[in-house]
Symmetry: D2
Subunit: 302 residues, 4 copies
């Protein structure tokens, strides 16, 4: 007979993805969200926050390599890195693979997610929370950016989507990006997850356009993530470093010489894939002229 345990992930009221669940491993609620760890029949173990699959073991590396590697390589010699969000610990795992890294500050708002990740998601963090280069700060990323005086070479925003109901939308506005810029060392690089250019094209476009209004260089890119059943977007920005300057040879050499271990997804060809955005998507993104501000933020449809 048919499966009976399902997570139905709604994209909109008229579309959803059904994922069969083999085992419900953890189910709780923190101050901020509903937290679940499940074993999907097809995607394997996964973290779900408020009904949205954050990452699944089958391809979390695609998302995390895509988020971290272009920014780190564009920088060229990242020593101090700030990660906002990234509760699973896989973002700092990727950061720590870069030999030049001396210090990583990770700021996450939800201590329950961290505890759940430490206990149930060892394949994600692989002990990164115990690396002596890592400082974990439980707190609001926005507050940290505004108040902590420290500067970084690379800042990585691995945050929840800007839902109208949640606090994360304040980390997708012009004021925030200006504050981020002040926390970057000269030559610093910023990257953020930027929602799906397929499911939420307007949101994705506004995030890009807002970042572009703050940084001299900005580039959008995206890649298909099977466990999201969709493509997922990112925006990479810097005042001094131009993303279009990254060529295949430099990426290949950099990964070979300056990164510990082998990538599974990201290499110079994957880079070309992600940054070569098809015409229809380019037109859709570039037609948007809106800039998100605290007074006029952008939301993801909920």
């Amino acid at each position: 007979m048919y499966r009976w345990n399902w997570i139905i992930e709604w994209g909109t009221p008229a579309s959803a993805h059904m994922h069969g669940v083999k085992r419900f491993i953890y189910h709780g609620r923190s101050e901020f969200q509903e937290i679940q760890v499940v074993e999907y029949e097809e995607l394997g173990k996964a973290l779900i926050l408020d009904g949205k699959t954050q990452s699944a073991i089958v391809d979390e590396y695609v998302y995390h390599e895509a988020l971290v590697h272009p920014a780190m390589i564009l920088h060229g010699n990242p020593r101090r890195v700030l990660v906002l969000g990234g509760g699973e610990g896989a973002t700092i795992r990727e950061v720590l693979r870069f030999k030049s890294v001396e210090r990583v500050v990770m700021v996450d708002i939800d201590p329950v997610v961290i505890e759940v990740a430490k206990k149930y998601l060892p394949e994600w963090h692989q002990g990164s929370f115990d690396d002596e280069r890592v400082e974990l700060v439980i707190g609001d990323g926005l507050k940290y950016i505004n108040e902590a005086g420290e500067k970084f070479d690379v800042i990585i925003a691995d945050l929840a989507d800007p839902l109208e109901a949640g606090p994360a939308y304040k980390l997708y506005v012009k004021e925030f990006y200006e504050a981020v810029k002040k926390r970057l060392n000269p030559g610093g690089v910023f990257v953020t997850q930027a929602t799906s250019p397929s499911i939420m094209p307007y949101t994705h476009a506004v995030i890009y356009n807002t970042i572009r209004s703050v940084f001299k260089h900005a580039a959008y890119y995206h890649v298909y993530i099977k466990s999201f059943d969709s493509v997922w977007g990112f925006v990479l920005a810097s005042d001094e470093k131009d993303p279009s300057s990254l060529d295949a040879g430099r990426i290949r050499e950099y990964l070979k010489n300056n990164v510990i271990g082998e990538n599974r997804f990201y290499d110079e060809i994957a880079h070309t894939h992600m940054f070569s955005v098809p015409k229809n998507v380019r037109i859709e993104i570039e037609s948007v002229k809106d800039v998100a501000t605290l007074d006029n933020p952008v939301f993801t449809p909920a």
Copy 2:
């Protein structure tokens, strides 16, 4: 209250996509399959065969441009083109946009699909069935390839997936590709849809590997199709023309000078995107060494 009309498209017994339906436009059964035309709330009008969305108005152009344009441009001067399948009429629509085309033979097994397409899918075919360069043959593509003596510059296979239950699997085996090769003029090019490298990676890989065993040059490529909630794959092959020889400048010039109208998806950047396959997908495809034959065919899981 919530939507009530749904098509649930099962990828496997443990995963499915739910699409809300605004209007059921046509529902019938032919000798070969169950045929539906619906208006999805999000994807708009769509053709569904045996519960699988074939193409939706919101992005049918992505699929059809991706299928047709690389092969036509690789050839360089296609005059005679054979299309196997492609019942909606959008594949021949794209072919007819190439100025050099003098004759198109389209072979489709199901006359009911053609009638439904003519009546309900004018946005797809846009009158292409009435173009005097087009000859429509209702019949078995395999038989046509084996028996019709005519040769073509480009052969395009826009067929149903190789389901174990259906007859299409015979058009995904070595014997078929050898027969196709005999129907190509010197310098001829073949392209086929090749299932999803994400949902059916083994099937995709075997199709590629089988074609590679027949043609001197073969390349796999893929693109995300929103209405399939997944990436979709293709294989492009030729004995004389190397797909890797297609560079950005040549594609740009060709589209400008030799194709009527503007593409919506495909241009030299989309081409680079599709043919730059990320590392994990390359490894998965290239690790497969199986070749499909009539005695040992490859199927898509049903």
Copy 3:
């Protein structure tokens, strides 16, 4: 592979019934509602209004016999009958089986439903619309009750549920029941569908309590309807005739002598079943003291 065509009938946001559809027969929208005729795989042909299955061929007789027969037999000699709603034509079909009936007025607001029923639901009406005793009035039942001067022996309300969005809620309030009472001949009987005592126990109870505040005698009863996946409730009322006076012998004799043809569901045992309401349901209904009025109506949760 699994079925793909589904109607998902939501009871509440946290519960729903999925019905596989074999064939979509009709799909349209009238001024009042979305209208569908489908062939369910298990329930057979069915009429669906705004996503709610109204009746299915597999057991429409249970609903229609349960609605019509107790009221008619309680009356004892019904000659003039008013049916409000009942678009499928099965309610008047049952009324017409009573030999004493001389005139039936059916008032339905939606002419499209009537047309659809005439064309696609012959198994329901079985030609009843053409019976010379029947007068069909397209119009608002509330207006008809208030303005038409004619009086009836039995009035049957076979109406849509009192949704907040729709107009039907005005036919579930004290003012309406008072108007109905004025249209009854001496000895007249009123019956109405009264939503589900399981899915909407409060609504069911208020309908009962409201009717009880208007008529001297009132009784609630219910029966399981497979195509609703639930029990369904009714309220039977009269000033002169006491429903509890109906005994098995009288029902058996009446059906034998005064009704044409054989019932499939309703007999004296089914009557006992329906009117013997289990303790928990009795307590739940009788604990409600609210009365619905135009100023303070009762709604079904939507």
Copy 4:
């Protein structure tokens, strides 16, 4: 946004009930089955075995009172009672409410279900497992019936449905009922759950017909169970006691004088409701002449 955690309970491949889940409380697998305790949003806490809701807190009392009380009252003075199955502990809870009861043997095959019930379902058993009159036997009910020499006044079969895949079907055949009969004291009464007369009418009818071939008196009855979204059936049998002899007065008196506490569902009116089976159901059940035997058992469709 919509709910995401769902149990989809399939009745058949073309019909299912979706229940939103608030919290997954326990999820494990025993030697015999997959075991879950969840908190449904609407039905509250529930036990689910192999994807089938066994009972939910919102109405488990309907099922358990319906199963236990008619048999106990029909007997008139039950002192020794055997319960086969009934892992939640609610069946023995109801048995223990009868003042005459001196000894209850409960035989359940799955110790994990018992442990889960003890820990997570206190509202069900209410300490019954600790009652000194209760002996709990972990083992096969069929073996117990055949080998244990003890006799009982009432035997209650609260078993899983006779799935083809599982072992329970052997407890729904003539040989089993003959063995049960040998374990009854003079005047003894047997009752069994008998699947749904709505979802599985043939199975229900064969169970009745098989029991009728073994016992002098047998009666089928059923009641709507909201958490099953259906009616559920039982068969009551005895060689000496005729179920039709139970009248309202006797039930009322018996409950008042011989049972501790108040029933929530079952009283003399609920009894009449359950045993007054509507015509269509009677005809369906009584048209079946098949008898299930070990060589020719009856199964529930899976």
